[in-house]
Symmetry: C5
Subunit: 341 residues, 5 copies
Amino acid sequence: MTVSYTLEVADARFCGFSKLLFRWKGSIYRLLYKDVLVFCGVYLFFSVFYRFILTPKQQDLFERISLYCDQFTNTNFIPVLFVLGFYVTLAFNRWWGQYTSFPLPDNLMMVVSGNVHGADERGRLLRRTLMRYANLSSVLILRSISTRVHKRFPTLEHIVEAGFMTTQELKKFESLHSDFNKYWMPLTWFSNLASRAREEGRVRDDIALGLLMDELNKYRGKCSLLFHYDWISIPLVYTQVVTLAVYSYFAFCVIGRQFLNPEKGYKDHKLDMYVPVFTLLQFFFYTGWLKVGELIINPFGEDDDDFETNQLIDRNIQVSMLAVDDMYQNLAPIVKDKHWA
Amino acid sequence: MTVSYTLEVADARFCGFSKLLFRWKGSIYRLLYKDVLVFCGVYLFFSVFYRFILTPKQQDLFERISLYCDQFTNTNFIPVLFVLGFYVTLAFNRWWGQYTSFPLPDNLMMVVSGNVHGADERGRLLRRTLMRYANLSSVLILRSISTRVHKRFPTLEHIVEAGFMTTQELKKFESLHSDFNKYWMPLTWFSNLASRAREEGRVRDDIALGLLMDELNKYRGKCSLLFHYDWISIPLVYTQVVTLAVYSYFAFCVIGRQFLNPEKGYKDHKLDMYVPVFTLLQFFFYTGWLKVGELIINPFGEDDDDFETNQLIDRNIQVSMLAVDDMYQNLAPIVKDKHWA
Amino acid sequence: MTVSYTLEVADARFCGFSKLLFRWKGSIYRLLYKDVLVFCGVYLFFSVFYRFILTPKQQDLFERISLYCDQFTNTNFIPVLFVLGFYVTLAFNRWWGQYTSFPLPDNLMMVVSGNVHGADERGRLLRRTLMRYANLSSVLILRSISTRVHKRFPTLEHIVEAGFMTTQELKKFESLHSDFNKYWMPLTWFSNLASRAREEGRVRDDIALGLLMDELNKYRGKCSLLFHYDWISIPLVYTQVVTLAVYSYFAFCVIGRQFLNPEKGYKDHKLDMYVPVFTLLQFFFYTGWLKVGELIINPFGEDDDDFETNQLIDRNIQVSMLAVDDMYQNLAPIVKDKHWA
Amino acid sequence: MTVSYTLEVADARFCGFSKLLFRWKGSIYRLLYKDVLVFCGVYLFFSVFYRFILTPKQQDLFERISLYCDQFTNTNFIPVLFVLGFYVTLAFNRWWGQYTSFPLPDNLMMVVSGNVHGADERGRLLRRTLMRYANLSSVLILRSISTRVHKRFPTLEHIVEAGFMTTQELKKFESLHSDFNKYWMPLTWFSNLASRAREEGRVRDDIALGLLMDELNKYRGKCSLLFHYDWISIPLVYTQVVTLAVYSYFAFCVIGRQFLNPEKGYKDHKLDMYVPVFTLLQFFFYTGWLKVGELIINPFGEDDDDFETNQLIDRNIQVSMLAVDDMYQNLAPIVKDKHWA
Amino acid sequence: MTVSYTLEVADARFCGFSKLLFRWKGSIYRLLYKDVLVFCGVYLFFSVFYRFILTPKQQDLFERISLYCDQFTNTNFIPVLFVLGFYVTLAFNRWWGQYTSFPLPDNLMMVVSGNVHGADERGRLLRRTLMRYANLSSVLILRSISTRVHKRFPTLEHIVEAGFMTTQELKKFESLHSDFNKYWMPLTWFSNLASRAREEGRVRDDIALGLLMDELNKYRGKCSLLFHYDWISIPLVYTQVVTLAVYSYFAFCVIGRQFLNPEKGYKDHKLDMYVPVFTLLQFFFYTGWLKVGELIINPFGEDDDDFETNQLIDRNIQVSMLAVDDMYQNLAPIVKDKHWA
């Protein structure tokens, strides 16, 4: 479920964001605690190894290796910061782009409700079928990109069962072979059915038909964009470079940030704190930032913070049907408003 | 209230922005003074603790811990700067996007005024009702995202009382059950009523009706965008990473920036100034930048600088009614202008 | 006046931009010279104070304070660079956004000229009045955001005098009370008048009327955007953080960058140059960058580089009238072109 | 083939991105291994040269040169990081812009299917030919920008053979001489044919024709944008600056990062590890980032991660023909849906 | 001529971008070699001055000044890097914005070809004249912003000669006085002529006229945008700050990076290499980046990499005439395609 928190921070008060830190659901702690434990474990292993197992001579070597590693983790040798900053910003823009590409039937349903006429059964049938086609199309596309939707509709039969499709439509759908996603088929049916409704006079004029086609194309454009967002990812190479940068940085930290014997007088090693607080903090921030990237690179997964695709599908079909059927020409009496003068 | 200051800095004069520094309302001082006081208090506590309470031996330990902390707060160990820069930039773009998504009825009212005809009561009724529906829709959406609007209209009855809705419309509205915001219902009423006005001949042709539907869809699109801006926040994880980075940085500064005994000759500790001017400045800037993020992440709160949603609602309904009612075909006589040749 | 210089640097030649450095008008020197003088004055004051007034013991203290300050101005303690970079980039995008929101009547006048017919007086009157309304609207909005336009039209009477409005229109305009800018009123008049022209048959068909309404809405959208750009500034808090960062940085430089007695052998203080060339350069660049921000945060002021709003208003009304009146159906004879084959 | 991996990282789990690191296809390893080998070879050469071939005196000189080089590779002398960051971000935005400019016939085919009527042979012929023209146009443009498509259609005859063009059309096409790409010709044929279909009454009204022209123009706009993305590259100068920055940085690393004799006690040279792990990592990350730039600067090449242009061409023609021919008015019976009440 | 190189780097192969380094045309070497020579000359002058002309005592002073300068060129005192990065990114976005604003007649010519009917002389005349007006308008605007186009058409007579305008049109054009660019006049003629063609029945219905007006407005919008891109440059102040930052940085490098006598044992001055390789590299990269800015700030100059405006003008008029005249209703016979089933 999307984690909404803006209402809590509506006002920039004293210690504003601090209340956001004590949450578990959708939090960075939940995403990161396993990685932190692994990192601590490995660090501890080397710490024990160095302190209790190595001979003094081996310790000397370890210390030199550690100092050598530290030298590079202290300066900006591995460009973790920038690479992460640029990468997450790109991912974030994609993420929001994907969200705004989500096909909502609201505009379409208003045009259908206002332009496909008739309160009789045929009229209702036409309007409901048109909206069903539009919703079917978005279900087909979401099924291929969202793990949640795929789990809900593992086969096309499940879609038929859920009432988005009739069995005859399924046959027509399956009779056509294409290597690519066929999400556009129900939209072509929509176009054909609208054309037929015009012939039957249910759509009263060509301008109304034009409006329908226009909204249909906008709707299809969003489906198509969503499909391509999924198909064309951020180049794998970029993701690999970023991930390797972060991982290798901390691989060296595990050695380079060990507390060396303070008695040997190494520079900046005057205190043995056992727990490398700052390194842990660094790990927390950099890996946390990388996790942000992981989280938003595919917003159609099952993370706490991913889009609630299934609920949106339910909302869309419910609202579509209400708008074109129950609410069709169903108006409260038009009376003078309070401020009538 | 939104704090407008651009007129004061219209010209880039000598000491241009400096005059903006002496303001209290909507200022950084007002947002930050409590945090600064808390930070000073904690710093003072540790300062007194170190100077007067600890034994010399404990002081030695404290000094070493302090030096250890300082070592990390001086370099770029915790990537406060970049994380903040990227985060605030993202938040800023969202903030402006939210503002430009605010649904204004101006285009809609012009189309209604120009295309729904009749100076008689029925004509006025139609035009006023159409605009009332549009405004009602934006009130419904703003109620769910703006704390100020929610306070003004805690229940739907308050909306009825304010004249945005009749009791019969409220019944219709409540008879429909949906888990999601039903802000789109009045817009469907708008669509239905426009369709009825066309049948009555009040809207004279299909093209005019098309124009109405077009503007309606643009209006609905903005309502929808606003709803989604509120629903889909910047991932909580990102906000947490940024907040923790800033907070933990200053948690370590409280120890690491203590003035150690100058007599002990620690490097860079030759002067005991009691007040850590630079650390305070740093605190001021970094926390100030974070506050900017807090301020703009939800522009519909009650901060000095948040959008004046309630005033905008009043403006919108007032202007809508004026445009479609009082000003309907109410033109000054058309005379030759001054430069007629 | 806007300073245009791109033609001079059309070609990236040897020492390309260098010729831009020797300009006074609209230059950084003109914007900055006073600030530089003040900074030099303050620096000089402390310099004289340190060298000639303080006792040796006081000098010692001053030197320690100076070294302490210097320590922080040398490293990245105050995040001047990034804060400025992000801030100016945001301001720049706003600046260009504001410019492209400037309402130009060109599209509107072409549609009016092509669709409101009649070479007789009534036809001319209609076309001229329509365009006058459009221009009046932009004058009303610009008056509230541009200091230059406000100076030119301090009262509405000045607008009447300039021929943008008749006195009867002024009365109508003033009879309506609203707390918000009423720039939209003339556009409602436009809409009403276009509707009347359709009834009179001057606008021949509904599609032409639709075109008119469409362009009108685009025009109004730009006016509205401009109004909101002015109303909703970059949050004051952000501007204050940036300004304080720059100012406090240089406040410390004034102390920390003093040339200390080279004989005392302080690190990096082996040369007494009296004039702190680098600090001045730094002041120049950072304050210069801040000035860029000041300059572009309100492009409707009276800076050398601000938009020439008054000239644009003159151009717009002139061009509008020419296009819909003099040039109406005024075509050169249509003859075969040179390459006719 | 485009490498799609978002489904694998749909959830931000423990070690999220790590599974992406063990891939060969489309991976950074595949792109970079040759460069790494060359770099290692050159490094090794100098290492052997220094250790075994030089006389002690020459070694001293080499060591001084090495230290001198190292001094500059350690600090930010060559601004590799920023230049790369800004460059790759620009390239990335272009890359996505190019993808979204890819002309898809989906909207066009729906409008053709809904508005060009007749199930007879003439009707089918018209619809099929219209869609063929649209597809031909995109093939012509893609042939000039994608190496893969060029290999598939080295001459126009190949296009005829593939059925996108008839020989008579080819003759018409070749009879027109232009120095620029003639991809727009088939679209002009489309426009002419649509106009003829209107005359024949196959397109029933002017609004339908208007819809066709509208979608055609949007389609042409995308073809045109694609052409210009190819024509106007990121200025060569920018690419050269970035490439030279990265290459020269590592040219100096080859000398400056040699392990000098630890016995000579040079600073930071206390350990002889033979393999310069960190320099290799740096090489890996910086060159990897540059490779990302190379990869995305032309997404129409034959890299693993480039767009699958040929498959898209096949998909487009297949889908176009299906939609306007097989699926024309081919609807499943309209029956009540499951939730009919 | 625009330098196109993306085809050469279509695949990210081994040493991908390296082949781009060996080019002269449009290369960074060509842009920069003069500046490098000047820089070397000045450096050499000071080098000779220091080594051979100064007395030992003067040398001492020079060395101290040099060390003082070096101290500031080594750290980030002058924020060259960031200022350049932000500036070039802004300039780049403008550059691409300008390119995409280039008015192409392609959409317009298709609408004219499809909607202005008649294969007779009058029909041809109308279509050709309409397209001529559109092209004339873009020539007028390009003449004022592109040095190349201005050279080709130094006076309006040259435009007449080139066949874009008749002498009578020139008279009409000149009879109107305006302080601003009159590029919009031919477009008003277009609008008037289209309106006349409608009256003559050459444009068959109002919807077709609406389409024409719509495309005309889009075309005019691009002309207008281009005009404003030229008029409103990046504020001069910003360009000056950036240029001064780069120039002053290297002015100090000329002194601060001299090789001082290694015998005097100054820190980091143990090697006298005579040629300051790294400083040259720095000069190359920073100045190269600045050159990128110079190159793209006005893409309508005569640089190797600037837009080929004249060729585009030729292409546009040629293609316009072909499309509306030769190709008018000139279709290959419509036959069944290869895959007809």
